[in-house]
Symmetry: D2
Subunit: 336 residues, 4 copies
């Protein structure tokens, strides 16, 4: 039976800029499907090389979120599973920028320095959805090159622990602005629930991005995103877990970057132990068989994702088989 599918396109004043702190925009049951429009990180307001990002999209009006969504039945102590069915560009262009005091290769608010900043600049990328490519055009020469279109969500998260309201620029235990390529179609993201209803939201679509989002801004773009959710009752998930058909993964977010590594890998060691390996065997196996992908080195916390192929692990029904179950809904939706 085909699941219920709800299309939602937020109006400009429905966009939110935090995790937590906002009432739900919609309620849904586990197993239902949302078909969502997400605005780009700059609110869709930077459209030419002459637009000045810091004027068009000043803080705190960046990374607008679509949501939050209330998942019926979600309670603190549960784990929410969000399965991304499809992520597509909603426009035929994307945008990137460099900005003073932002990015990994310049001084920032935290890594402060006394040097003169780089200038603020804007690149507009054409999106060729059929060819699955985006077009880079140099500003200071006539060089162009086509990069693979690789759509994923920079932000996905639930409300943080009680009392807190966090900027949509921040990644942490609740997910958030992880800027990880792994938050893509085909992946299930597991997030610990902190408040009744979980109150998750998504945004910050990326059409292409190098590892680390080095200059602080990916090829940003609006998306249409199809997703479904499930709940694992009474199951803690201290840091975001991810699963696709072949791998299990953990996202750690912290500074310095080695702490993000430590979080992701200790959590992966603990997760692998759920399959029956001892602590030291799990530590050894993760050390030899896992790979790491850096999400960002520019946000208030840096994010890395550690992952290991399931085929190298003992047979195990990871996360109660929720990913497999959500894949089936995904297949039905794709057919319908």
């Amino acid at each position: 039976m085909a699941p219920k599918i709800t299309r939602f396109v937020p109006t400009a004043d429905q966009l939110v800029y935090t995790f937590g702190g906002n009432p739900p925009i919609l309620s849904m049951n586990p197993g239902e499907v949302l078909d969502l429009f997400t605005e780009d990180a700059l609110g869709g307001k930077v459209r030419t090389a002459d637009d000045i990002p810091s004027e068009k999209a000043p803080l705190p009006y960046v990374n607008p979120q679509t949501g939050p969504f209330h998942v019926n039945g979600a309670e603190p102590g549960d784990t929410l599973a969000i399965h991304l069915i499809d992520i597509r560009p909603a426009r035929d262009w994307g945008v990137s920028t460099i900005s003073p005091l932002f990015g990994a290769l310049v001084g920032t608010k935290q890594t402060a320095n006394l040097q003169a900043p780089l200038p603020e600049r804007v690149w507009i990328y054409d999106v060729d959805a059929d060819a699955k490519e985006v077009l880079f055009k140099a500003l200071d020469s006539d060089f162009t090159t086509r990069l693979p279109l690789d759509p994923f969500l920079g932000t996905i998260g639930v409300a943080p622990p009680p009392f807190e309201v966090r900027s949509a620029l921040v990644p942490d235990t609740f997910g958030g602005n992880m800027d990880s390529h792994e938050v893509r179609a085909g992946t299930t993201i597991y997030l610990g629930v902190n408040v009744p209803g979980a109150l998750f939201s998504i945004g910050d679509g990326h059409f292409a991005m190098g590892d680390g989002e080095i200059c602080g801004v990916a090829v940003e773009g609006a998306t249409n995103t199809l997703l479904t959710v499930d709940l694992i009752k009474n199951s803690e998930c201290p840091w975001p877990r991810l699963e696709n058909n072949s791998e299990i993964m953990v996202a750690g977010s912290a500074r310095p970057l080695e702490d993000a590594m430590r979080i992701a890998h200790t959590q992966l060691v603990y997760w692998v132990m759920e399959s029956g390996l001892s602590l030291t065997d799990s530590y050894q196996l993760v050390s030899q068989a896992s790979t790491t992908r850096i999400g960002n080195v520019v946000d208030p916390n840096y994010t890395v994702v550690a992952k290991i192929p399931k085929r190298h692990l003992p047979q195990h029904n990871w996360m109660d088989g929720v990913h497999r179950k959500l894949r089936e809904i995904s297949t039905v939706v794709a057919r319908s």
Copy 2:
């Protein structure tokens, strides 16, 4: 003329656990004086070596704040000046603990490791206010020693930028849980105003603490704190500035610790430039004449305070002379 003095002792359900997110508990005018009770970081609930802190004061019920206070006339873009007139122990005991996953010398949520944690333990310190000492009593031997009583506030802060609500455990641009010895009687703290009324609060009194708050918990204690405030209109203050009779100081909060250093010292260089020195002269002079005190290396951001004696700087009316003005109110109050 003696200023208006308002005594306020929060009830248990008036305590708040965030910066931002709460309505003001009181309004005040610049130049008025508050006489405040602050509860200890563990809510006054850990009173013997047999109390288990993680049960008596579970997250998020730590670092309760007295406030927030609405300062009439404060608008975003202004700077709030809070002058601490007096900080006194409100009880004849203080408390410290060590806890699993917290502290600089053990694995934590961020600096995660696979080793077995240390046990949870509690030390109660007797306070001898007359002798100005606190008494350390070893748990595993009969050794005791008297440490200097050195009262200061671990937390002082305003509401963060719009939309955000931050845990009272966090230090950042808005002040917060800096755990700096410099937040003591005689010091003026300058904080950029983010929301109308500024909405400042204080708490987390410390009776003694080594630099860095190494085990994560100082000798925590309830205080009676006397303070007054002023406003500098249309004056930005990107990071907390501090001033006493002899020094100007900046607090930087970030991870890794060198980024906290970079923030504090670049901001101090810029502040010194207000006296007329060039960038490179200010950089050179700060490099030779400033000292640094580490607030904490255990909170979500680490804090360092960079400071330089005014006597080594060009004559300048620092922060429009607000510290001097508030010192006068302080003197009147002390006499009254």
Copy 3:
């Protein structure tokens, strides 16, 4: 014409444990080929799960190097190019360990803590060269799994700047213990020459390793390695560059890990600029089109490699075409 091929198998007392500080063991001309035996990181002395690594291979007798080799004509200010033609296991087993105070997920000499250390343990891996697999066998259960055989050199480096002699455990500007998967057959490694003859050496063969060498020890094994070299006269190379048929790459080594990122990516931006792009265009393109692979997060410096496909860059004769030239020698050797 087939190049001269010299086979060299060091005796135990010919092994060296530093970069710099040792006289050359052999001299060679650019274009000649070396066929080298490299001992494993533990000196081939840990062969069963009962061997105690810290006793069998105590510091400083780890990471034994084959070399150093004197390249005729190499002078400070030149760049040495080493092309790896082939790396094969020299034994049918490899070894890994966990050791107290070493590894990313435990306290170490630098990230010191007060917790009890993990125990010291040894895993022996069978190598199936035909199937291109290594066999992990759990110590505490009967689980086994086969991981891909993926041979690369943990260490490759030249003598450091004048006066210094560095442990073979350290990666830095001179190469060294980078523990990067990219130091594999088919890759050319470019290293700035610091002393006459360059004095390069190799060692620390790895048969498999997760990104970051998380527990501090890969699946270590002895190798037979075939390589050739060339010189680029009067050409500085401040950090190791790498090139294969499809990508150019830079290795940065530092702590914290974000500094290794910063080094690798600024150097990659500068290298890409050699193809004619402006600074900001190069920064933007690298930000969207580069990927990053973490070498290690356990050595005295952490290593990351940033890489970008040549097909996304302007046409350019990278490093004077040395990689292409050495590939041709490689092809001749493979045929002979």
Copy 4:
């Protein structure tokens, strides 16, 4: 009885630039006194604001060392104690600079960025030994100010572990370029011996310096330094310990800065335990009673010194009473 005093002034070609790697320039017995000239960090070659440091004192010719000295009887596994009796300016001027790619508030080799560097500049300070002051003169205005003369040695160290030779710019377990104010007259520095004779050296005199040596260069000056030494046989000292009449201290050197903190404080906890306290009591007491002073945040490793007053600790004969013994020699020398 007055100890033997040996005056030694190195010629230019006797200066060395590393720890390790050089034959001893003199041998001495424990209890003898050396009266040493140390050249400034720039080799005495930058004497006016027009001198260009990177040309006058290019790498690796910085931080010239006086030494190394062979201590008769010192063997690996022993601890060398060096007591500094007196440190005096040997010239009536000192010098500081700012240089591109060096310093805490600019991009560096490791914390690389793409911004334009600051200019290279030189400040000459007059030294008034009688008034115990140095004179800062602004370059871009006519402001001057007098800072306290506060002489200490930026570098003091022994040869590193076997095989290694380390640049005199580096601080590590062997001491080296710690740039700590605590390496001053009246202090005993304890260093673990790595090679027969210990082979210690000193240099890099500072006449004044802010905490952290923020711009990378203190007020550098040549010194005449009086010291004596002793040995503690069969006693390991994994990181530099320091002792004066009132405090015990440990220096930790690492990146990021919090790791230097962790080293210094874990080692201080362990050292305090030698007086009989349990691990957790020592951790608690160090957390409340220690202070921290930052040596440098600019060298290849950052240095912090953690210290605690002896009066707050159990009675104990710290380091076998060597400091007290060397103080007596010091007193005799001062009288003679």
